[in-house]
C-alpha cells in the first residue's frame, strides 16, 4: 500500500519535473548529501531519527545564506495527485528557505502523503485549528510565461527535489 502511494507520488512529481529520492531513515544523511548542492541551508526537520545535524546543510538560516545558498532543505507534506509539497510556515523559516535558494529539497515522510487536495484541506483545517495556520501548496519549480515563453525559476526555486522517507 505504502509503496504504491509513494510510486504514484513519484509519478506525479516527475510530471511536475521534480526528482524523487527514496530512502530509509538510517541512510538519510548520506542520501541527502548526494542530492544537495553546496552551499545549502535548512531548517530543523523535526522527524524522528532524522536530522540535518549529520549533513552538510547549514542551520539556522541567515539572510546571507538565503541569498547565496544553492539549496534550501525543509520538511514538507505531500499531495499524491499532483506531486505537490505542502510547506508549513514556521518560526524557523521553512517558508523563506523553500523559496529563496535555487533548489528546494523537500523531505517528506511517507506517512505525510495525502491523496488529494480534498484530504489535504481537511488535514490543514485541523492544523489551522491547532495554530499552524499558514502553508503553501507548491507544485514544481516556479515559472512564468510573461516574457513570451515558459521559463523556470522566477522568484522561487528553479529546481525541486523530493526525498521520501519510506519507513517514516
Amino acid at each position: 500500500m505504502r509503496t504504491d502511494t509513494i510510486d504514484r507520488f513519484a509519478d506525479s512529481l516527475s510530471g511536475a519535473d521534480v526528482a524523487c529520492t527514496r530512502v530509509e531513515a538510517g541512510a538519510f544523511a548520506d542520501a541527502l548529501d548526494d542530492v544537495v548542492e553546496q552551499p545549502a541551508v535548512g531548517v530543523p526537520l523535526d522527524i524522528d531519527g532524522v536530522s540535518l545535524d549529520d549533513t552538510d546543510v547549514e542551520v539556522p538560516p541567515t539572510p546571507r545564506l538565503l541569498r547565496e545558498a544553492e539549496t534550501g532543505v525543509t520538511r514538507v507534506h505531500g499531495i499524491v495527485d499532483y506531486g505537490t509539497f505542502v510547506i508549513q510556515a514556521d518560526e524557523a523559516g521553512a517558508e523563506p528557505v523553500s523559496l529563496y535558494p535555487t533548489t528546494h529539497v523537500g523531505v517528506v515522510r511517507a506517512s505525510d502523503l495525502r491523496e488529494n487536495v480534498h484530504e489535504t484541506a481537511s488535514w490543514l483545517g485541523e492544523e489551522f485549528d491547532a495554530g499552524r495556520d499558514s502553508a503553501v501548496l507548491a507544485t514544481g519549480a516556479s515559472a512564468t510565461a510573461d516574457m513570451g515563453e515558459l521559463v523556470s525559476g522566477v522568484h522561487g526555486p528553479q529546481r525541486v527535489h523530493a526525498v521520501v522517507l519510506t519507513d517514516r
Binding site: V43, L66, D90, E91, A92, G93, V117, F128, S142, E149
Partner: protein
C-alpha cells in the same frame, strides 16, 4: 460613418495591428492548455457547481463573513479595514506606509489595486512602488494598463518586451530571449523585494474563519512580498470572502485550470497573517533568522467600492462570484484578436469586465466597447463558477441604452415597433427589430433587395445606421417558408405519424434562408414525423443582442403564445437556428415565467439533434442523403449547449467524411459583423476560421455551417457556397412523398 463609430473602428484597427498577434498567440496557447487539462477530469462540472454554490452562499452571507474575518484577523494580531471606495482605501494604505516611514513597497499583481490606482496614491506620498509579477512589471515599465486579468502583458511579444527593456534599462548586454528577459527582471525585481519596507498583495480568496488569505501564483513573487518585509498589506474586494478553508478544494482544482490550463497552480499560498515566518532583514545578513525579532504587522483592506450595491442588484450580483481567472477573455473570439485594451473600461478587460466596470466604476466606463460582446456564449462554458457573462453584458447594454440621448428618435418611432424606450441608438433599433425589417423586405422582394443593394441606399444605411457597405446584406425571399408550407397539400400520413413536431421558423429561415426550412420539413417528414409549422415570430435573439430586453421579452411572450398550443398537443418544438434554441434553453428563463420557460426548454430541439434522436429511435437513415466530403463549422451557441455533437454524430452515421473547425467563433455572431465599427474585427476573427479550413485543404469539400451568421461569414471569406447540415442530409426533392 458617424464620428463615434469611426473612432471605435480606428481604435480597433490600431489594436489589431499592434497587439493582435501577441494576444492571439497567448490566448490560443492558454486555451489549448485549458481544453487539454479539463479533458483529463470528468468531475469538472461538479467542481464548478460546488464552487458556484460556495460563492452564492458567501455573497449571501457577506456582512456576516466580514464580521467573522475581522475577529479572526484581529485574533491573529492583524487589522481589518473595510474601505468604502478607492479614495478611502488609498488613504488607509498610505497612512500605513507613512506610519512605517516606508520608502519602498513591493507588490504582487492584483486587479483590485489596479481598480483603486493605489500605485499613484503611494507614489504621491513618496513611496517607491515596484510590481513584482513579471507581466505586471512589464506593464509598469511601459506605463500601460494590464490587458488581461491574469496575463497583464498578454499583448506584448518577447520582441516588444526586449525593445522596451533595452531602451529603459542600462544593461551590460542586449536582452533578447524570454530567458534573458526573465532573468533580468527577476534580478531587478528581486533586489527590490529584499529592500522593501512594505509588501503588498491582493488575495484570490479570503477564508473568514481563520483569517487566511489565499494567493495563487506561478512565480513565487506573492510569497516573497508577503513574508519578506515585516509589514504586509493585502487588498481584496469584499467578494473574495469564503467561509473557511474547508471550501478551498474546488477552487484549488479549478482556478489554475481555468486560468492557464495547469492542473494546479505552482503556488497556492494559504497565509494567516501576521505569519509565523521570521522577517528576513537583508540589511543584517548574518543575523540568524530564528532570532530575528518578529514584529510583523498585517492589514487586510477589504474594498467595497460599489460591491454592496452589486450584491443587491439581482442582475449584476453574479459578477461577484467571479474568481478572476480570465478564462472568459481567453475564450472570447474578439478578445483573441484585439486584446483587453479594446474592451477598455477603466480597469477590467474581457468577458466579465463589463459587469465589473458597471459595478465599480459605473455605466460610462462599462459602456465603452460593451458592444464587443457578441453574445456568442463561449465564455459560459469556460467560466469555473458558471457565470452567465453574456446575460450580464446584455443587462448592462440595456441599461446603457436607457441612458442614451434621444437624438435620432424621430427616425425610428413608428418604424420599429419595439418595446424599448426612445433613445435606443438607431443602429441597435434596426438590428433589434430585424424581424419587422425581414417581413417588410420579403413582402417587397425583389425590389427591397435591389434597393438595399443599390449604392446610394448602402451609403445612407451606413451613415445613419452604421451598416457597413462592405458586408453583403441578406437577400429576402418573396415566398416565405410559412407561406410555402401552408400552400402545400398535407402528406398522406398527416395525423398518423408516431411523432409530431412543430417547426419554429426563425426570421432568417422564414424570409432569407428558406431552403434550409424546406429541407428541415422534408427531412423530418421522411423520418416519419408529422410536421406543423408555427407562425414566424422573432425569438428575441435580435433585440437581446442589442440590449433591448423589454423588446426581447415581448418577443419571447409572443413566441411562447404561439408554441404553447403545440406543446399542449404534445408536439416537440424543432428549431433550425442554434441561437434561437439557445434563447429557448438559456435566456427564456430570464424573460418568461419559470414554468412556461421550462416546458419550452425541455421540449425544444435543434433540428439535427432531433434527427439524431429519430435515428437513434429506429428511423431509417437510408431515406437521407449520405456520403461525401464536408468541412463543417458548428455554431458557438450550439457548442455551449453541447448540441453540436448530434450534428456530427448524424454525419458519421450517414458516412460523411468531416473536417471540423475548432475556433471559438466565426466572428459574425449575428448583427456584429454588419456594424461598420466592428466590420474589420469581424472579418479578422473570421479569417482565423477561413485559415484553418484552408490549411486543411478543404477547397474540394462542401462547406457546411449551422448558423445563419456563420453561413454569411463563411461565404464572404471562402470561395465555396455554404449549406446548413439539414440541407445536406435532406432527401432529394423527388424522393419526398408529396401529395395525396
Amino acid at each position: 460613418m458617424s464620428a463615434d463609430r469611426e473612432r471605435k473602428a480606428a481604435k480597433i484597427r490600431h489594436l489589431l495591428e499592434t497587439e493582435g498577434d501577441a494576444v492571439f498567440e497567448n490566448t490560443t496557447h492558454v486555451n489549448a492548455g485549458r481544453y487539454e487539462t479539463n479533458s483529463h477530469r470528468d468531475d469538472i462540472d461538479e467542481l464548478r457547481t460546488r464552487a458556484r454554490e460556495i460563492k452564492e452562499d458567501a455573497i449571501e452571507r457577506l456582512p456576516e463573513l466580514v464580521e467573522t474575518v475581522r475577529e479572526s484577523v484581529e485574533a491573529n494580531g492583524g487589522e481589518v479595514y473595510v474601505a468604502e471606495d478607492a479614495a478611502d482605501a488609498n488613504r488607509y494604505i498610505t497612512e500605513v506606509a507613512e506610519s512605517k516611514d516606508a520608502e519602498t513597497l513591493t507588490k504582487s499583481k492584483s486587479m483590485t489595486t489596479e481598480e483603486i490606482d493605489v500605485n499613484d496614491a503611494l507614489e504621491d506620498a513618496g513611496v517607491d512602488v515596484t510590481e513584482t509579477d513579471l507581466g505586471e512589471f512589464v506593464v509598469q515599465v511601459a506605463d500601460e494598463a494590464p490587458s488581461h486579468l491574469v496575463g497583464p502583458a498578454f499583448h506584448k511579444s518577447t520582441e516588444d518586451i526586449a525593445k522596451l527593456f533595452n531602451a529603459h534599462f542600462d544593461t551590460d548586454e542586449t536582452l533578447e530571449t524570454a530567458e534573458d528577459l526573465t532573468q533580468f527582471a527577476r534580478d531587478h525585481v528581486g533586489e527590490k523585494i529584499m529592500d522593501a519596507d512594505v509588501g503588498m498583495t491582493g488575495a484570490n480568496f479570503v477564508f473568514a474563519e481563520s483569517g487566511t488569505i489565499s494567493l495563487v501564483t506561478n512565480e513565487g513573487n506573492a510569497r516573497k512580498c508577503a513574508v519578506t518585509p515585516d509589514t504586509h498589506v493585502a487588498v481584496a474586494g469584499v467578494e473574495k470572502l469564503i467561509p473557511s478553508i474547508d471550501d478551498f478544494p474546488p477552487f484549488a482544482e479549478l482556478i489554475a485550470r481555468a486560468a492557464g490550463g495547469q492542473d494546479i497552480a505552482t503556488y497556492l499560498s494559504l497565509l494567516s497573517p501576521p505569519v509565523d515566518s521570521p522577517v528576513v532583514d537583508f540589511e543584517n545578513p548574518d543575523e540568524p533568522l530564528d532570532r530575528s525579532t518578529d514584529d510583523r504587522e498585517f492589514h487586510l483592506v477589504l474594498l467595497d467600492n460599489g460591491r454592496t450595491e452589486m450584491r443587491e442588484d439581482d442582475e449584476l450580483r453574479e459578477t461577484l462570484y467571479c474568481i478572476r481567472c480570465g478564462a472568459c477573455a481567453n475564450s472570447c473570439a474578439n478578445f483573441q484578436h484585439v486584446g483587453g485594451h479594446a474592451f477598455g473600461g477603466e480597469t477590467y478587460t474581457g468577458g466579465i469586465a463589463t459587469g465589473w466596470e458597471a459595478g465599480v466604476h459605473g455605466m460610462d466606463s462599462a459602456a465603452e466597447f460593451n458592444d464587443l460582446c457578441t453574445g456568442c456564449s463561449r465564455c459560459v462554458d469556460a467560466c469555473p463558477v458558471k457565470i452567465d457573462i453574456p446575460w450580464i453584458n446584455t443587462v448592462v447594454r440595456d441599461r446603457v441604452n436607457r441612458g442614451t440621448d434621444e437624438e435620432f428618435d424621430w427616425l425610428v418611432e413608428g418604424l420599429t415597433p419595439d418595446a424599448d424606450p426612445g433613445g435606443v441608438d438607431l443602429q441597435k433599433r434596426l438590428f433589434g427589430n430585424f424581424g419587422t425589417l425581414a417581413k417588410l423586405g420579403s413582402a417587397t422582394a425583389p425590389v427591397s433587395n435591389w434597393l438595399a443593394d443599390w449604392g446610394p441606399s448602402r451609403a445612407v444605411m451606413e451613415r445613419v445606421a452604421g451598416v457597413d457597405r462592405r458586408r453583403d446584406l441578406p437577400e429576402f425571399q418573396r415566398e416565405t417558408l410559412v407561406d410555402w408550407f401552408e400552400s402545400r397539400e398535407p402528406l398522406a400520413t398527416a395525423g398518423d405519424a408516431d411523432r409530431e413536431a412543430v417547426l419554429y421558423p426563425d426570421t432568417y429561415t422564414n424570409y432569407v434562408l428558406v431552403d434550409r426550412g424546406k429541407a428541415a420539413v422534408r427531412t423530418l417528414e421522411a423520418l416519419g414525423v408529422d410536421v406543423s409549422i408555427a407562425p414566424c415570430h422573432e425569438s428575441g435573439r435580435a433585440p437581446l443582442s442589442q440590449g433591448m430586453i423589454a423588446t426581447a421579452r415581448e418577443n419571447a411572450e409572443r413566441v411562447a403564445d404561439s408554441l404553447d398550443p403545440h406543446l399542449d398537443a404534445g408536439r416537440d418544438v424543432v428549431a433550425i437556428e442554434p441561437s434561437d434554441l439557445a434563447a429557448f434553453r438559456r435566456e427564456y428563463e430570464r424573460l418568461l415565467d419559470g414554468e412556461r420557460a421550462q416546458r419550452l426548454a425541455e421540449n425544444s430541439y435543434e433540428v439535427m439533434e432531433y434527427v439524431y434522436g429519430l435515428l437513434e429511435n429506429g428511423a431509417d437513415p437510408d431515406v437521407l442523403a449520405g456520403g461525401g466530403d464536408i468541412a463543417y463549422h458548428s455554431h458557438c451557441q450550439q457548442r455551449t449547449l453541447d448540441v453540436d455533437q448530434y450534428t456530427e454524430a448524424v454525419f458519421e452515421r450517414l458516412d460523411y467524411d468531416v473536417v471540423t473547425s475548432d475556433v471559438e467563433c466565426c466572428g459574425m455572431a449575428g448583427s456584429f459583423g454588419y456594424k461598420s465599427e466592428y466590420y474589420e474585427l469581424s472579418v479578422d476573427v473570421g479569417e482565423t476560421l477561413a485559415d484553418q479550413f484552408e490549411a486543411q485543404n478543404v477547397d474540394q469539400r462542401r462547406l457546411v455551417a449551422s448558423g445563419a451568421s456563420c453561413h454569411e461569414q463563411l461565404e464572404s471569406l471562402l470561395p465555396q457556397d455554404s449549406t446548413h447540415p439539414v440541407e445536406l442530409v435532406a432527401p432529394a426533392v423527388e424522393r419526398v412523398p408529396r401529395t395525396r
